[in-house]
């Protein structure tokens, strides 16, 4: 592949992309004819094509684009009003240019002289008076069936343009739905089955997915930003008498608009740097045995909630020794400090303020912006930039930015004197719980929802805030925002829940970014900064690392000291019992009416099924049954106990043998509890039942 072919190829790619954009903008302009910015964008795109035509000696192409520019000049000057006439003529022009690009690719020539109809259409549109009512669609387009066909050639589009305001409305409506979901959840609470619970669960799932989809819809492809770099690099290189091509990948990765903007600035600087400092002149490259044209690769990819962009070039690379020497000579670091640096440390010097600005004295990248500014710029949106390099090769720059940040629908909660934002997408429901609905297991509070155990996390307590005194001492209810994060459900206990809001998220300042439980900060209408909670980090902070779904397989109760998680309970006769936590499905509190007893067996009416019950003592149950529903090999079995006490980790001191329960030692008091062999009890229950 010769250099000319490479340049031509770049021109064709760029030209087609420009045409695509022009086409979209023309269509958009028809709806909003006064959008001067869009008009300028079209002008710029055509101008770009024209400029390169001159460079490549493509006369006819240059001629038709020039005519198009004339019309656009008139439009921009307000001499002609945008309407169907100019739109038709310009769209016909787009198709003509596209046909020329196709021909150029196939035959390498542009020898077709401009169609008189097209030129006439452009001229007619330009001659139209501004006050005149829009004419019928362009005569030229009508006259040329091929052009019409081309105009209406519909490529299968996988995306459509949507007004941003519509997306905002969607987000608001989805937020409203979350509130409805919360109310329905309150109605369904306390029921362990039935149609209402099923309906509620369905709604909960659908609402969550809806919110996620709306958030997705607010993303735009990173290609919008990176697609402009092939041309930018080419122009810069041309100024410097060098050649460069830019390869792109991952253009489809979606990022928030605000992230894209920050990336655009950072990447522009990096590409300039690569062209200016990295890529050598063709002579130098030839001498080094490299292709004459330098290569810059920009690759984007998504990982979780982050977007990574990697920029590499095949230029001369960065000389760490020289960087270190320069940093010392500028007094940025001490000589001894420099001597101790390893390769990575020396490269890191490029981020020192004051270093890169003085080395970039050329016209291309010498704009007083250094890598330190790139880093600072990205840090503002919660991003990072790192640089690595293999000796003698071009550097690899890795940028890591969050996928979204701009606007997040939040629920505002109050805890003590402070208010916090909880991202609405994570909120399942808001519940008010009476004291009877909260279980206290050794200080850890739980809430049972539809039979599921939901740990409660007191925000004020977790944050070490002074416990707020209840406004009404008779009111012992608590408010919990039930959230779901990475498959874990838990309740955030707050003093009150205030209005939902659309929070414009700002990243935390670097000096407090180490606080993981916060994902950002927003400024409320009253001007007060308000912190946004990171629910995943909060769960980790309070030790909620268990999976939400119960694990059916239990580790074999092998001999030897082994630590297992246990649910501790007290039997009616005072014995202390321990059930492997992994086997606990749900905790149930049931009235005796739900008990079905026969001779020698007991079952619990459990929604659609009858649950075999095992008594762990000989006593009659009290007014209410405390039932630990366990999973076992044959399904589920309920163990009913006097009281549920605690969840804890304990050391297994005696492994079960010959069917007798094992013993565990637990807690600081070293109290011993009997380890319940769930499978043995289950088989008993089935046998008896």
């Amino acid at each position: 592949v010769t250099e000319e072919q490479e340049i031509l190829q770049a021109f064709l790619e760029e030209g087609r992309e420009n045409l695509e954009r022009v086409e979209l903008d023309l269509v958009a302009l028809e709806a909003v004819p006064d959008d001067a910015e869009r008009l300028t964008g079209i002008y710029r795109a055509l101008h770009t094509i024209k400029g390169t035509c001159g460079f490549l000696g493509l006369e006819h192409l240059q001629d038709v684009t020039h005519r198009g520019e004339d019309l656009l000049d008139a439009l921009r000057a307000g001499e002609v009003r945008f309407g169907p006439g100019p739109a038709g003529a310009l769209l016909a022009l787009v198709d003509d240019i596209r046909a020329r690009l196709d021909a150029l690719e196939q035959t390498g020539t542009d020898d077709r002289s401009p169609a008189p109809e097209l030129l006439a259409a452009l001229a007619d549109a330009e001659a139209a008076a501004p006050a005149a009512t829009p004419a019928a669609p362009s005569g030229a387009a009508d006259a040329d069936p091929a052009t019409i066909a081309a105009l209406h050639r519909v490529r299968p589009e996988s995306s459509i343009r949507v007004d941003a305001a519509v997306l905002d409305t969607l987000m608001d409506l989805a937020g409203e739905l979350v509130l409805v979901r919360g109310r329905l959840g309150a109605l369904a609470a306390g029921q362990s089955g039935g149609e209402l619970v099923e309906t509620y669960r369905h709604l909960r799932r659908a609402t969550g997915e809806l919110l996620e989809s709306v958030r997705q819809a607010r993303l735009q492809p990173i290609g919008i930003v990176i697609r402009k770099f092939p041309r930018v690099a080419r122009d810069l290189a041309a100024d410097l008498g060098r050649q460069v091509t830019v390869q792109l990948s991952g253009e489809e990765v979606g990022v928030d608009r605000a992230v894209n903007e920050a990336l655009a600035d950072a990447l522009l600087h990096l590409v300039r740097n690569a062209v200016d400092h990295g890529i050598e002149t063709p002579q130098e490259r030839a001498a080094a045995g490299k292709p004459l044209s330098g290569r810059i690769a920009i690759a984007a990819g998504q990982e979780g909630g982050r977007v990574r962009v990697q920029i590499t070039d095949d230029g001369r690379g960065i000389d760490g020794e020289r960087l270190a020497a320069r940093a010392v000579s500028l007094g940025l670091i001490a000589r001894e400090e420099a001597a101790e640096l390893d390769d990575a440390g020396r490269l890191e010097l490029i981020f020192l303020p004051g270093l890169s600005t003085r080395t970039s004295a050329s016209t291309v990248s010498g704009r007083g912006v250094g890598m330190d500014a790139v880093r600072a710029h990205l840090a503002r949106i919660g991003g990072t930039v790192e640089l690595s390099a293999a000796p003698g090769r071009g550097p690899t720059v890795r940028i890591d930015v969050p996928l979204t940040l701009a606007i997040v629908a939040c629920v505002l909660v109050r805890s003590g004197a402070e208010r916090y934002c909880i991202p609405q997408a994570a909120v399942c429901e808001v519940v008010r719980l009476g004291s009877g609905e909260v279980d206290d297991l050794g200080g850890a509070r739980l809430y049972r929802s539809g039979g599921e155990l939901i740990p409660l996390v007191d925000l004020a307590h977790t944050f070490g805030a002074p416990t707020a005194t209840a406004a009404d001492p008779d009111d012992d209810t608590i408010t919990a925002v039930i959230v779901e994060s990475e498959g874990r459900r838990y309740g955030v206990v707050v003093d009150s829940v205030e209005d939902p809001l659309e929070a414009v998220v700002k990243p935390l300042p670097a000096s407090v970014r180490g606080v993981r439980v916060l994902s950002g900060v927003t400024i409320l209408a009253d001007g007060r900064p308000t912190l946004i909670l990171d629910l995943t980090a909060l769960a980790t902070h309070v030790g909620l690392t268990e999976r939400a779904e119960p694990v059916v397989t239990v580790p074999p109760a092998a001999a030897g000291p082994e630590r297992i998680e246990l649910l501790l309970a007290r039997a009616g006769d005072g014995r202390r019992l321990a059930v492997p936590a992994a086997r606990v499905w749900r905790l149930e509190r049931a009235l005796p009416e739900r008990l079905r007893e026969g001779s020698g067996y007991a079952m619990l009416d459990y929604g659609d099924e009858l649950l075999p019950l095992v008594r762990l003592d000989a006593e009659r149950p009290g007014a209410e049954l405390e039932v630990i529903v366990c999973t076992c090999a044959s399904g589920r079995v309920g163990l009913f106990v006097e009281a549920i006490e605690d969840v804890s980790e304990a050391e297994l001191v005696v492994a079960p043998s010959d069917g007798r329960p094992g013993l565990v030692r637990n807690g600081p008091d070293g109290e011993v509890a009997e380890l319940v062999d769930v499978d043995r009890f289950a088989s008993t229950a089935v046998l008896v039942g």
Binding site: A465, S511, P529
Partner: protein
């Protein structure tokens, strides 16, 4: 430092601390500070400075000064690279001109945590000593 430089001075405990004049954005008295839970000691919280989120640091904690009593209300807003921070200081002093020859290295007997934060010690014409702050480090140290 090759030419004489102008410094804003502040008192923090018994220290007279200097920050280059062109880095000081403004001095704010008793701004509203929103606490940041689980932040390291010395982080007072966040301030909304005309839309910019600024971290407020208790300078007494950073400089090992006596921290009994409420945090000082004089906030010196300092522009660092990539971030703006506010140091809550005991008192605001005058602007001084420091000639390079009056700057000395920080004596080794200064406790290491404090020494790390200082670039040098300057003698003022009136005989007082002013410490030249490496403001970036005070912020880096604030991150747990």
């Amino acid at each position: 430092m090759t030419a004489s430089a102008r410094y804003c001075t502040f008192t923090v405990g018994t220290l007279l601390v200097g920050v280059e004049v062109d880095r000081v954005r403004e001095i704010v008295i008793a701004p509203e500070v929103v606490p940041v839970p689980l932040a390291s000691a010395g982080v007072l919280g966040l301030i909304n400075r005309r839309g910019e989120i600024v971290t407020a640091l208790d300078a007494r904690v950073r400089f090992g000064a006596d921290t009994t009593g409420p945090a000082p209300e004089t906030h010196v807003i300092v522009g660092l690279d990539g971030e703006t921070v506010s140091f809550a200081v005991d008192g605001e002093g005058e602007v001084v001109e420091i000639a390079p020859e009056s700057v000395h290295p920080v004596p080794e007997t200064v406790p290491a945590p404090l020494r790390r934060l200082l670039r040098g010690v300057a003698e003022l014409p009136d005989g007082r000593l002013m410490v030249d702050l490496r403001a970036e480090r005070t912020v880096a140290e604030a991150t747990p």
